[in-house]
Symmetry: C2
Subunit: 412 residues, 2 copies
Amino acid sequence: MNDIRVDIDPALLTHHVERLGELGELPGGGMARLQYDSSWAEAQDLVATWMREAGLRVRRDAVGNVFGRLPGTDDSRTILTGSHIDTVPEGGKYDGALGVLAGLAALRALAARDERPQISLEVVSLCEEESSRFQANFFGSRAMLGLVGQEEPRTLKDADGVTMAEAMVAVGLDPAAVATAKRDDVAAFVELHIEQGKVLESAGVDVGVVEVITGLIWEQVVVTGRQDHAGGTPMDDRLDAVQAAAEITAEITRHVAGADGAGRVTFGRWDVRPGWPSIVPGEVVLSMDLRHTDPADLRKRATEAREIAAAVAARRGVEVTFERLKDETPTRMDPWLRQALADAAAVCGATSMGLPSGAGHDSQLMGEHVPAAMLFVPSVEGRSHCKEEFTRPEDCVRGATVLATALHRLAY
Amino acid sequence: MNDIRVDIDPALLTHHVERLGELGELPGGGMARLQYDSSWAEAQDLVATWMREAGLRVRRDAVGNVFGRLPGTDDSRTILTGSHIDTVPEGGKYDGALGVLAGLAALRALAARDERPQISLEVVSLCEEESSRFQANFFGSRAMLGLVGQEEPRTLKDADGVTMAEAMVAVGLDPAAVATAKRDDVAAFVELHIEQGKVLESAGVDVGVVEVITGLIWEQVVVTGRQDHAGGTPMDDRLDAVQAAAEITAEITRHVAGADGAGRVTFGRWDVRPGWPSIVPGEVVLSMDLRHTDPADLRKRATEAREIAAAVAARRGVEVTFERLKDETPTRMDPWLRQALADAAAVCGATSMGLPSGAGHDSQLMGEHVPAAMLFVPSVEGRSHCKEEFTRPEDCVRGATVLATALHRLAY
């Protein structure tokens, strides 16, 4: 360990954030840079160029992750930093991208130093985290961990029916080669990310060191009633799928909100069929996103949600089914890495605090297999997954400086 | 008046119903024959051909209504029968179409008789009733009544942004000529239609004579909250538009259902934005379809719905707005025409009963300007606006026979 502070190039980081934010920018503001679309491909190319300019050895793997490596005297192990390049539809330009660019800034600063790291350092721009186009579930991290099935690219489809394999071919990747993305040299993963909440802002603290990443369950809920004429069908003779879905949503939301302060539930996607004002809807397909930092409470809420839905369905005479699309256990971050981040903050004169992450991250999956840690920088008003998402340039720079300093402590 | 029974050609009517039902048929069953689309144009051409074959004088007006005329000795006045040719998306092949084809069968039978009517008879295939593509509000009837504004075809747009004027030009109509569709010779309008409810089926009665057509209010409800990250935002710091919309829907539905047996409310169309599982929805746009046979109760429920929504919005900290897209007063059917239908049923050996219509119809608007009446035939299980919509061939034939017999009583 050491107490050397590693400063990054603040103007270059700010420029990179703005420039990358142009790729996938929507006309009305906000971002849609979805896995394997053209803005995604352009972004990965640009990041690769910037890595090369930073003096790093650039490599792409079979799923489109882009790596920039600073070899250590021991080149058999790697401390990896970075985050994901994709966004949600109508997301912001900091979620994911800032972690890539802060990692790049940190490795650029370290590469410029006279000394060589003992352990190799690498920054990664991960291909996918948001399931923004495919139900891909941390595709980039999973590929590195060897957890992607050989058949997945052929079976996963986007909303237009395009398979992931087709989308990969369109950006020059070989879907048959996904297994080659696996690597066994990663000794640690350190991810900088925006907080996506208001804890740091409210506390007036510079950076956050994540203690635990929330667990997450995604269910696809299908409510099936009976399609009927809105005028010809009396209220007491209806099997109205929307009314049942509305009651299910309202009751589960009230239950989760009332149970404790740590659970969160969101019904963000609704498909009401056939979707016509004068037709009693016969079917509603909706998403349930359920989160909790405690594994037992997460299971409990998920069970209770199904019970509430079944009770409403019985009362309304409709059918309801749940299909689990994601099931991610809460992940505790590595204590040694957390300490390194907190120490680095102190060296850089930044205040820090421990906090949970309500959002899921690549570090969640990585942390189940290798030591992992996350550094949070403040989100203005806690906004994210929206065009108002914003982190002040000075907070971006401070975070990247703490990251660079922590990587120096870990690798040198 | 007379007690002559006029029989129609049962096999031909059944054939026409099946054949017309192929135009706009969906791969999975059901119909989507939307105003001015290609299946609509094909259907109007086919109906015109059949009218010509029936010995009627065929004419099309500026908005695409198709008429088949059997001139009377007094050719200055017209008793009009018929219904609309368009369907809702995922509708059935009886709603509207059966009224056109029963009118055609009736006039074919009457044209084949040796005697000539005193008053001219005409069957119409109206271009639009369902607002299935444009918010066109009985466009065909309104055009005949001179109630279409000169600018309407240019301002009304479908979901893809196509103006009605563009759609008219695509099927060979001149949008500048809509005013020429107005006519002043209509002495009465008699419409056969499927019941779209279970009253006749439950009572075991052959035909229904409509006493009053329900009033209808369509509101576009916009709930505006705040888009946020589903993981980073605690439950007590959300302005979740879906949760507010769900509570509004559930509470208004329960209120209308509990108020009396005659009110009906449906929230059939939902647009949840941005529509992503991990994003707290910032906006929901939903349709409210409210109906009542009593004008005062209809107003009262509409006011109460707004009050309920405002209370939920205040409680949840979101905004809610209502925009009224349709406002149709309940319309009482003409007593003299009703009596003629009931008498004709008796002549034909069909049982009949009076009943209200929960669905809106062209007769509603027509009935505000000229004497109008409706004859209902049974819907199996009351199903309509869905692919399961079905009326037995014998019920179609019986209804058309009663219609033909009633028109004979009225015009000869």
